[in-house]
Structure formats: C-alpha cells, structure tokens
Symmetry: C2
Subunit: 222 residues, 2 copies
Amino acid sequence: MEIKVVKSILEANEVIASQNREVFSQKGVYVVNLMGSPGAGKTTLLERTIEYMKEKKRMAVIEGDIATSRDAERIAAHAIPTVQINTGGACHLDGNMVRGGLQELDFEQIDLLLVENVGNLVCPAEFRIGEDAKVMIISVTEGDDKALKYPLMFQVSSVLLLNKIDLLPHLDFDLERFRSDALKVNPHLAVLTISCKTGEGLDNWFRWLEEKVNKKATSWKR
Amino acid sequence: MEIKVVKSILEANEVIASQNREVFSQKGVYVVNLMGSPGAGKTTLLERTIEYMKEKKRMAVIEGDIATSRDAERIAAHAIPTVQINTGGACHLDGNMVRGGLQELDFEQIDLLLVENVGNLVCPAEFRIGEDAKVMIISVTEGDDKALKYPLMFQVSSVLLLNKIDLLPHLDFDLERFRSDALKVNPHLAVLTISCKTGEGLDNWFRWLEEKVNKKATSWKR
C-alpha cells in the first residue's frame, strides 16, 4: 500500500516535470537542478557562477528552502532575477513547486536557470523538475564514503562538484577512494574538485556549464 | 489530497512508535535517535560514546542506512550488538523499520540503545521511532545559518551536538550567531560544542547521556 502511494506521487511529478521541460525547451533555456546536503556550498557556488557568467549569459535563480529567504537575498544582491520557493516542511523541490515559480520569470530574457534545491543528499534526487542536468555538490568535510551510502544522488547526477578542497590538509579524506566509489556508482559522472572559497577548479565547472548553455541555445535557434 | 496522504503515513507511524516506546519502557532501556546530515559525524560519535560507556552501561546500536553495512561494521568492531537496517531508498528511519530490528536484540541485556538515523537534516525529524530523546549532530563545516533554514530538526531535538570544532580556525563560522538562532527555534535545546576528533567537549555529552540512562533505569526498578 505505502509503496503504491509513493509511486503515484512520483508518477504525477513526472508529468509536471515534463511540462516544465517543454516550457524550457521552447524558450531555449538551459536548466540546472543543483542538489547537495545543507552546507555543501550550493548558494556560494551560485554566487561564484553568477559573478563569472553574468556578462556572458542572462541568468535567473530559483531558490528552494524549507523556510527563510536568506539564500534568495544573497542571490538577489547580485542583481539576478530570483524566485524563492519555501517548501514549508517538504524536503525537496518537485515539478509542481517549480512550475509555481516559473510564472515569476520572463523566459524571453533568460539563457540559464539555476535551481537550488533544498539541502538534502537523498530526496531531491527522486523528483525531476524539468531540468536539463542534475548537478550535485558535496563538501570534503562530509567524508569520503558517501557514494555507496547515498547512491541515488550520484546515479542521477551529470556532474559532481567536490567542494572545500582547501580544507583537505586538515581532514582524513581519501580523494582516490571517493572518486573511485563515485565512478563505480555512476561511470558517466564528471567529478570536478573545487573550492568556492579560493576559486580553485571553478574554471572547469564554468567551462562545462557554458558549453551546455551554448549547445541548448544553438539547437533552439535551428 | 497529497497532504492527507502524508498525514495518514505520519499517524500510522505514531502508533507503531508508541508501541516501540512501550517495549523500551517495560525493559528500562533508554533510547537515543541520533540524526544529522551525511558526514556530520554520527558514526564517529557513536564510536567515542561506546569507548567511554562500555564499561559502565550495556549498549546496543541500530544502524540506519539507505545502502551498505559500512557503519554497522565500524560499530560491531567495538563488540557491541549491532543491527543494520537498510532502508532501500527511504530517507529516514520510521517506527516500523525500527520495530523490525528490535527482534534481533535482547533487551534484558541492554541499558542504552543508540539508533543512528539515515544522514539527512530534514525527514528523520518527522518520524518518531519510540525514542526517549532525539539528538542532532551538525558539523561546523555545514555553516552557521542552519537553524532557521531547517527548523524542525532543531525544534524536535533535546540536544544539539556541534561537531568538528577543531576546524573552526579554518572556517568563517559565527558560533554566537549559530547558538542564538538555534535557541530562537528551540529555547530548551542543550547546545554542546564537541570535536569527535580531538575529544574536546565530549565529557559534557557523556555526562548528559549517563544521567538520562541512570534516571530511566531507576524509574524502571520502582
């Protein structure tokens, strides 16, 4: 019984996510669903990405939080259109919540929509929102054993950003073990090591993202 | 409609959690539900607690993980009865999962049952398992802004263990802001700063726990 309930919620979500996806495709907007635990560095990554990309691409951000608009305020300070979704207890964004936020944005003026999911390494991975790519961010302080313990997030993501590598000297973190476990769970995962604090490695992320945005824009204009 | 479904799941859980609670009370076993994000330090805290307490109290551990038995293996190495619950995707333990694990333990021989929940700062807070106390652990690397953003976990917990304080010199973490936000959300929360790595502050946690275990054992013998 219980499994049936969950399944029907997931199926209903798929329908709405596909409708969102259709909207994004019609407008040539590339959409990233950014996921990770609380404190992994999602908002700071968005800030760095906005700083780098804002002269090149027209961006917007949807901020998903259980409560508060603190993250949205951080993003809006960069003069980027920002929509706050407060899930009111729900531990993830779903297609319907994101659909509610879309009305606030003018997609004629947007190339790239960055969606910051609720801080959670588990549930957001189950709910598509209509994104082109799921990107996960994890901090080295979370430990090197996470891929096998939380496999779904690793399986559904296109890119894994391993953040806070500036702290590696102070931690027992086996980078090769982490990378090898992650690739065991998902051999197609692009694993990029970064520090949002020092900026190290962020150029690889920017390059990956820019290529994807350009590609979607090109296919849209055809 | 959807809210109704969730409510009935939560209500069904309450019934089973109360039955578990009754079992624990009949045997005078004190039960801790330990919650926190992936990598907050839950398993290491259990190891430190076992090292300190094992001459004084008879302990058992239930390990909740989505997949793998890595954490259970770490605990079992300390010669403590350990039960692994693999949730198979579910992002939290609930009363029924814990009930399934209870058959594996001999409660005549146990004073303290430590239950490590799935790594997640959100969902576990919604599901009682029959515990005497919810204890949350959060690492300073997760940032000082978490209490207002993830309020439920802070509201339902009796103790907050702020872990990895040995890393504070390398981080921008405002301890007073964190503590003040946490107490705003839950004025009854005992906030203890600890480092499972260096051992700093753990004596306060051990003292808190030992008092609770003693108190439950005393009330049981009456």
